[in-house]
């Protein structure tokens, strides 16, 4: 029977939840990195015991952590010393420096700030880690201020892929309310050169040459907060999801609007359909049914909680437009939590488990593709991210 491992990043540490394929009884381990924000954790598809974690503190900045045993022990890789006098592994892996070399294109020095002025790029934190599909030592990092970095030595050292920041539209990017973050990285499962990323508030971008050159893929997005609602960049994309078996089809939760692309992002059309509100952050796709999509509708950009105090997931089995409310086991009243952009995930057990975490500290699971829900844990710190590994 398969096992599942749920990686939960919270405002005050990381937690690892494990169960067998029935997903009924859970072991909860943590907090790891207690007291630190853990924006994201993710396991390598090529080696499930290799995990990466983004550990952040307002006081002490960014630390990258790595595990080689499925999260039982961790190390900060890199640096000139591998063992402390006490015998613990130590190192330096938190060095993210924007590429300003003249050899790599057009490195930028500023982007648009909240007040419309140009502002220098300043590294703040890693929002998202995306391990390579084939190499456990290769991992991508999406950071704030928005850029993408890559490590090919297991998070020991990081190098920017400057073609994204330097391709020309960078000065028009601006921070959303949460900062100017690169929060989504999707590796194409069939084309190793193709990567999708998304930035708030710049939009979606794609490379077809392994990250050397990038182009905006925002045609069809409309954003009322922009003077030109169809602008090439400036859209507040909240998250993008893809089914691994069909990498050319993408689903997007934008600030407002749920969108779909059938041509690898070259064009988008709205599929919000009968959703009660099409604002939200999280979106994901069923592991085995590429037309089955999940969102968590949030009331509005000013009121980041569910409609009428009822926490609901909506599921479309038609690739959008026709949505059904999923309520069984979810709070019926007085629920005013949020579900953040990286806080929803699916497993690949045969009947596909769906997971999401809330800013109220709950992590919910549906072991039957959304029909029935229950909390795995109720009282964690606010959940920032949820990822799931399905283990043999």
């Amino acid at each position: 029977m398969s096992k599942v491992r749920v990686l939960v990043g919270t405002r005050k540490g990381a937690f690892i939840l494990e169960s067998d394929g029935r997903r009924k009884d859970w072991d909860v381990a943590g907090p790891h990195f207690a007291g630190w924000e853990v924006y994201h954790m993710k396991g390598s598809p090529a080696d499930p015991n290799r995990l990466y974690a983004s550990q952040v503190s307002s006081w002490s900045g960014q630390v990258l952590q790595r595990s080689n045993d499925g999260g039982k022990t961790w190390e900060a890789p890199g640096g000139g010393v591998t063992k402390s006098p006490q015998g613990w592994p130590v190192g330096e892996s938190n060095r993210f420096v924007y590429d300003t070399s003249p050899e790599t294109g057009k490195p930028l020095t500023t982007h648009q700030f909240y007040d419309g002025t140009q502002h220098p790029w300043e590294f703040k934190r890693v929002w998202h880690l995306e391990p390579s599909l084939t190499d456990p030592d290769t991992v991508y990092a999406g950071v704030e201020d928005a850029a993408i970095f890559r490590s090919t030595d297991g998070a020991r050292s990081w190098h920017e892929l400057p073609g994204l920041r330097g391709h020309g539209t960078g000065p028009k990017w601006q921070p959303g309310a949460g900062g100017m973050c690169l929060h989504t990285i999707i590796l194409d499962t069939k084309d190793p050169g193709r990567i999708y990323i998304a930035i708030s508030a710049a939009g979606a971008f794609r490379t077809d040459d392994g990250g050397q050159t990038w182009k905006p893929i925002n045609r069809g997005l409309r954003s009322q907060f922009l003077p030109d609602q169809d602008a090439e960049v400036g859209h507040c994309v909240h998250h993008i999801a893809m089914n691994a078996s069909r990498p050319g089809v993408l689903f997007m939760q934008k600030h407002w609007d749920v969108m779909r692309s059938d041509d690898a992002g070259d064009s988008w059309h709205e599929v919000s359909g009968n959703l009660p509100t099409d604002f939200g952050f999280a979106i994901d796709v069923h592991a085995h049914e590429p037309e089955t999509v999940y969102v968590v509708p949030i009331k509005s950009d000013a009121e980041h909680f569910p409609l009428n105090g009822k926490l609901r997931v909506y599921r479309s089995r038609t690739g959008g437009n026709e949505w059904e409310e999923l309520a069984d086991g979810l709070p019926e009243r007085n629920c005013y939590v949020n579900v953040l952009r990286d806080a929803m995930a699916v497993d690949s057990v045969e009947d596909c488990g769906i997971y999401f975490g809330t800013t109220g500290g709950q992590v919910y699971i549906s072991p039957d593709a959304g029909d029935h829900w229950s909390p795995i844990v109720r009282d964690l710190p606010p959940v920032l991210s949820v990822e799931v590994q399905t283990l043999a």
């Binding site: 960014q62 630390v63 900060a76 130590v90 938190n94």
Partner: protein, 98 residues
Amino acid sequence: MVRVVLPSHLRTLAHVDSEVELDVQGVATQRSVLDALEARYPVLRGTIRDHVTLQRRPFIRFFACEQDLSHDSPDSPLPERVADGTEPFLVIGAIAGG
């Protein structure tokens, strides 16, 4: 020998239980003490001062001998009682929030 006291979250990160004792080359200054600290515990690079500019992170403070040294030049000599190990050099996480 200079004694350095780290905030608890950095002690955890560096896997040290108590204060750190460092042999500092030359004059004991903020810079030379932090250089020695980071050489011994590379995981602390970037957590107390910026990787590139080496400026103190905004929410970090340096105290010693009941004085706030945070705004002193990083190359100013530390108090003699810090340099000779009588008093510790304190790295403090500033109060932030309510």
